[in-house]
């Protein structure tokens, strides 16, 4: 949420953050259209199957079960021709840093039997090590499955398939609209910042920079308000009157049913093992 970076060049930094977000947005579908195992499945069976894996990963108290699930995730990625590099960048890297910072100190502070003695009376305890390892393993495993879903499925199909979880149509449409306009606002913001960066003269004080940042946000906000009214009119012009309808063209085949049943069953098996 925040970062410690020296004061100048916030324009360039924001522009680069926007660029990174836009890239992530534009290339999100990159692997969704290549042939592979997950890509060949009905999005609804993927939501049910991979969703069950996330739930199971958050629930189990056995590191062995977590490790098995992680390996299963890797196999799914390989079978779907999703490069592990991409999966690592998307699911593992950011969250690993965060979790490592969080879990690291727990190795020392959690009471338990010391296993490694360090100078100044600091010691790593068995419980501490287990706690840290379990948290990291759990978080990484749980992050793998949503990433597999989103990498192997076009966004709109993911959102539409949420209907299988009884998500109301209106919410699905709101989510889709939001995705659509995130891209537009990102583009607008990017254009704005690149234009400002190219016109920038001299070094600005923090206060001036801040004023510039908030006025850019203001322009974006105005655009948001105008768009929200215009889009409403455009929807109305084509018959929208408060209720909205969706057309779903998914088809469940035997393999989809197999995944939708076998994955949750397999995922919750470890929970029953003592």
């Amino acid at each position: 949420m925040s970062q410690f970076v020296p004061g100048s060049g916030f324009l360039a930094r924001t522009a680069s953050d926007l660029h990174a977000a836009a890239r992530k947005t534009f290339y999100a579908d990159e692997f969704a259209h290549t042939p592979g195992f997950l890509q060949s499945l009905d999005p609804r069976s993927k939501i049910v199957g991979l969703g069950a894996m996330v739930l199971a990963a958050s629930s189990t108290r056995h590191p062995e079960a977590l490790a098995a699930m992680l390996v299963f995730g890797l196999l799914l990625a390989i079978a779907s021709r999703i490069p592990l590099k991409v999966l690592a960048a998307r699911a593992w890297a950011g969250i690993f840093l965060l979790t490592f910072v969080l879990a690291g100190p727990a190795m020392f502070t959690t009471p338990g039997n010391p296993i490694i003695q360090l100078p100044f009376g600091i010691q790593i305890t068995d419980h501490g090590l287990k706690t840290a390892a379990l948290l990291i393993l759990r978080v990484e495993t749980a992050a793998t499955f949503p990433a597999l879903l989103i990498l192997s499925t076009p966004w709109m199909h993911v959102l539409k398939a949420l209907r299988v979880l009884r998500v109301p149509v209106a919410l699905v449409v709101i989510l889709a609209l939001t995705c659509r306009y995130i891209v537009l606002l990102l583009q607008t913001a990017q254009d704005m910042f690149e234009a400002r960066e190219s016109r920038r003269i001299g070094i600005l004080s923090t206060k001036q920079q801040r004023q510039m940042a908030t006025s850019s946000v203001g322009v974006l906000f105005t655009k948001t308000l105008v768009l929200s009214e215009e889009v409403y009119l455009a929807m109305r012009a084509r018959g929208y009157n408060g209720d909205v309808f969706l057309l779903q063209t998914f088809r469940m085949r035997p393999r989809d049913w197999a995944v939708a049943i076998a994955m949750p069953a397999g995922a919750f098996l470890p929970l029953l093992l003592k």
Binding site: S2, S59, L98, V139, L273
Partner: protein, 346 residues
């Protein structure tokens, strides 16, 4: 601040989904009535705005930069209810599409940021802008401070949820299963960053945008677009919330048994059977060979009076009470604010 999957136990996540549900319901009802079918694009666009806003590095005094969430400005312009929906949608998109924040934690993140954050922001903003004109400089400061408080309330709620994990969820040897730090570490660790950097970014964005709106379209700061709670139509909501508030800790505590996480052997223990049965609303259980269930006894409680003594002695009960107290305080405070605002108007 977005909680990933695996930091909170599934039962805590479930409890927070349940806690968020009535707010979402009432928010959808209220905003729908006020904005009619404009609601759909408006919520989406504000959610998209909040999303993009998080990419903006706001330069702060001292040479650092921070990101704002938009909770401040969304509440000031849209009112607490529509803001709740918009920020929830933004959080859901972040979790589902971008992997920022967990899928199982969507309820928790929405409860903390979108719901508690909007309510706290609205309370502070209303309190400070009693009888202030749309163009008054007081609104600029009020919006900033409201955003600051809103974000920090959200961070505090997140810290409390992290902090109660180690006392509620441990394995057989006592090692924490989820977030490992108790409240006295989790709260300062979360709050220092938010009270300084993230909170300030929120302050500057909310106040800067409010000043911007005053120059460009001050009608947005009137009541034309906001959906503020009114006593008459929300009394039922507060009642439902009150009941829920009483039930929620029971839900979280009952989860102390980690509902759905008990091993196969637990089914056989008569004590455990009774407890599981109570937690499962007395649904019949399958029979299995008996075994011990000591790990549950210290933190177990159920909505049955017989168990109350154990429940009161439990250490986690104290933690829970602080959580309920916090939530209750936000609701109570917003009621007080609503009362003051009404008084000032008449």
């Amino acid at each position: 601040m977005h909680i990933p999957d695996g930091y909170l136990s599934p039962s805590t996540c479930a409890a927070l989904y349940v806690g968020a549900a009535p707010f979402w319901y009432v928010a959808a009802k209220r905003t729908n009535r006020l904005l009619h079918s404009r609601l759909m694009p408006r919520i989406s666009l504000f959610a998209a705005f909040s999303f993009v806003l998080m990419m903006f590095n706001i330069p702060l005094p001292g040479g650092t930069t921070g990101h704002a969430t938009g909770i401040g400005i969304a509440t000031v312009v849209l009112g607490p209810w529509a803001s709740m929906l918009s920020i929830s949608v933004a959080l859901a998109i972040q979790a589902i599409i971008f992997g920022d924040g967990g899928i199982t934690a969507i309820g928790a993140n929405c409860f903390n940021i979108a719901i508690l954050g909007s309510l706290a922001t609205w309370g502070v903003y209303k309190l400070l802008t009693v009888s202030a004109a749309a163009g008054s400089p007081r609104r600029v400061f009020a919006a900033g401070l409201a955003g600051y408080v809103g974000l920090n309330v959200a961070a505090l709620a997140t810290a409390i949820e992290f902090g109660i994990q180690p006392s509620l969820f441990r394995d057989a040897n006592g090692a924490p299963l989820y977030a490992p730090y108790p409240l006295h570490i989790a709260i300062p660790a979360m709050m220092i960053g938010h009270l300084t950097i993230a909170g300030l970014a929120e302050f500057f964005v909310a106040s800067g945008l409010t000043a911007f709106i005053q120059r460009t379209d001050p009608t947005l700061l009137g009541n034309a677009t906001t959906t503020e709670p009114q006593q008459t139509s929300t009394r039922r909501l507060w009642m439902v919330l009150g009941i829920l508030l009483m039930l929620t800790p029971l839900g979280i505590l009952a989860a102390g048994t980690a509902w759905g996480e008990w091993g196969a052997s637990d089914f056989a223990d008569p004590e455990a059977r009774k407890q599981i049965a109570a937690a499962s609303l007395n649904a019949p259980l399958p029979v299995h060979p008996p075994q011990g269930l000591a790990k549950l006894s210290s933190i177990w409680t159920a909505p049955v009076p017989d168990y109350a003594p154990v429940f009161l002695k439990s250490e986690s009960f104290g933690y829970m009470m602080s959580g309920i107290f916090g939530v209750g305080l936000v609701i109570f405070a917003s009621q007080i604010v609503a009362w003051i605002v009404r008084r000032a108007r008449t």
